[in-house]
């Protein structure tokens, strides 16, 4: 049986058009783009074309795009490098980030808190929405950066980044958004949002892993993390990941053209799936409000059973889903995102599964997946001490 992949938020397959676009760079087009000879110039031209494609996808000018090794590098570069924009450099050491950021922001901010920075984490409510009053109150004289993601990777919840950018700018504060899960999936314009820094990753939009890009608004700067060569206009040293850049450009070009149709088609599948799960599996809870959520993601807590056990059994039945984010899989702690949304109910956080849909998802798969989820959850509940307790405590 063909496997059913429902983990598009973790990563995506490289689509054939993208593969075709990079094959020449694994062959004749091998020059170093910094080289002045023909071999180098040919490749330089291609990476500049890729830069233009990435820029177009977010409504930016090409020279505002810095390619890098992915959104983790992008996020760390922004957090570690924003202070260069302030005269009172060292004084602007307070940053505000949401409590549901990806670890590349969340854990980095936590680490910085131990290194002379002050960090405020903005909490979310039970639907995953940001506490905007908290955010506004957290702002102070020393605030240098506000970082809030565009779309959450675990729940699909969409954040009001345009509004937050405005709040930040009114106080002369820089605004950054991690747009990894939004790009290529919903309209996104850096000019409309007026973001100062935006991080992107290629491997969520059907391009290879290990390449990404950073948008830096005109007039703004970042202290580079990687220093040495003059690549990327002195903004990121290191020989360019040519294959990755070309792939990312092509993938975003394709995504822009297909966004509306994808949204319609994939959204229908996600909705049909979620409606059936919530109706047919008792004691479930959706993590993330019904509205204000991207069409790609359905995050569900199945009470009384642990997420990894569900995931493993579904995997056995040919279905790939995830608990928390892939990056967290080295730990056993429940995702800080789901914890935040579950209001600290760790049992529910441990019980969550993320189903994420994408280009190769099919409506015909929904029935099989729902049946297996029902079966697996029932099996696991049949010997769950928590379920047993719950059933026996119910008035008969």
């Amino acid at each position: 049986m063909e496997r059913i992949y429902l983990d598009y938020n973790a990563t995506t397959p490289v689509r054939p058009e993208v593969r075709d676009a990079v094959l020449p760079f694994l062959n004749k087009l091998f020059g170093n783009p910094s080289s002045r000879h023909l071999e180098g110039r040919q490749v330089k031209t291609k990476i500049e074309a890729a830069r233009a494609q990435v820029a177009a996808a977010i409504g930016a000018d090409p020279e505002r795009i810095v390619f890098n090794a992915g959104a983790t590098e992008g996020n760390v570069t922004v957090l570690r490098g924003y202070q260069v924009n302030y005269k009172e450099k060292k004084g602007r050491n307070h940053i505000i980030v949401s409590g549901v950021e990806h670890p590349a922001v969340y854990d980095t901010a936590k680490k910085m808190a131990g290194e002379g920075y002050e960090v405020s984490f903005v909490p979310v409510d039970g639907e995953g929405n940001l506490d905007m009053a908290f955010l506004k109150n957290a702002i102070k004289e020393t605030t240098g950066l506000i970082s809030v993601m565009t779309v959450n990777n675990e729940t699909g919840v969409i954040y009001p980044v345009k509004e937050i950018a405005k709040i930040a700018h009114e106080k002369g504060i820089l605004f950054h958004t991690d747009a990894v899960q939004a790009i290529g999936k919903m309209p996104f314009s850096v000019k409309d949002i007026d973001a100062d820094f935006v991080t992107l990753s290629a491997h969520k939009v059907y391009a290879p892993k290990g390449v990404g890009a950073l948008y830096i608004k005109k007039g703004k700067r970042l202290d580079p993390l990687l220093t040495g060569g003059h690549q990327e206009n002195n903004r990121r040293a290191g020989t360019e990941n040519v294959v990755g850049m070309v792939a990312m450009g092509r993938a975003l070009e394709l995504a822009s053209g297909e966004m509306a149709a994808d949204r319609e088609r994939i959204g229908k599948i996600r909705d049909a799936f979620e409606a059936r799960i919530l109706a047919e599996v008792p004691h479930t809870r959706r993590n993330g409000g019904a509205d204000n959520r991207l069409y790609t993601t359905s995050n569900i807590s199945f009470r009384f059973v642990e997420g990894e056990a569900i995931q493993l059994k579904l995997d056995y039945h040919g279905i790939a889903v995830s608990t928390g984010s892939a990056c967290s899989s080295g730990t056993l702690d429940p995702s800080h995102v789901i914890m935040a949304i579950c209001n600290g109910d760790e049992e529910e956080a441990h019980s969550s599964i993320r189903f994420s849909f994408g280009k190769y998802s099919k409506m015909e798969e929904v029935g099989y997946v729902v049946d297996r989820v029902k079966e697996v959850v029932a099996q696991l509940r049949s010997f769950s001490p928590l379920y047993d307790k719950f059933m026996n405590s119910k008035p008969k």
Binding site: E306, A309, L332, E346, H350, F383, P385, L386
Partner: protein, 125 residues
């Protein structure tokens, strides 16, 4: 993080699941907020563990370890049960991922707790 074939077998087909209605030794360890709760039901006759069943809320390893532990003690003496260590259980399963070693602790812990409580209540030294 890979599970061995034996872990997967115990996880997919757990032995001795459920409750023993007339169990004479029961212990529960763990905590939902840690992601693992293991409850052991034992039917002890004299010095022998005649029957054992478990209920587990937890990851694949927690379930496999629970199942493996019940297999290892069924029909064994109380003393033998107390000698079983977490590492033995993990070894029987062909090993566990490093990050999961704490789950295997739990099953042996539950077993030991049930047996010790029983011995205390029945004045067995």
């Amino acid at each position: 993080m890979n599970y061995t074939e034996k872990v997967m077998d115990h996880f997919m087909n757990p032995r001795n699941v459920g409750k023993i209605e007339d169990a004479n030794a029961i212990a529960e360890v763990g905590n939902p907020s840690c992601g693992d709760v293991i409850k052991m039901y034992l039917k002890i006759n004299g010095e022998m563990i005649e029957d054992i069943k478990f209920q587990t809320f937890g990851c694949g390893a927690a379930i496999a370890v629970s199942s493996q532990t019940t297999e290892m003690v069924k029909g064994k003496s109380l003393k033998e049960a107390l000698d079983i260590t977490r590492d033995q259980v993990a070894d029987e399963l062909g090993g566990l991922p490093a990050v999961k070693m704490h789950c295997s602790n739990l099953a042996a812990d539950a077993l030991h707790q049930a047996v010790k409580t029983y011995m205390k209540e029945h004045g067995i030294a």
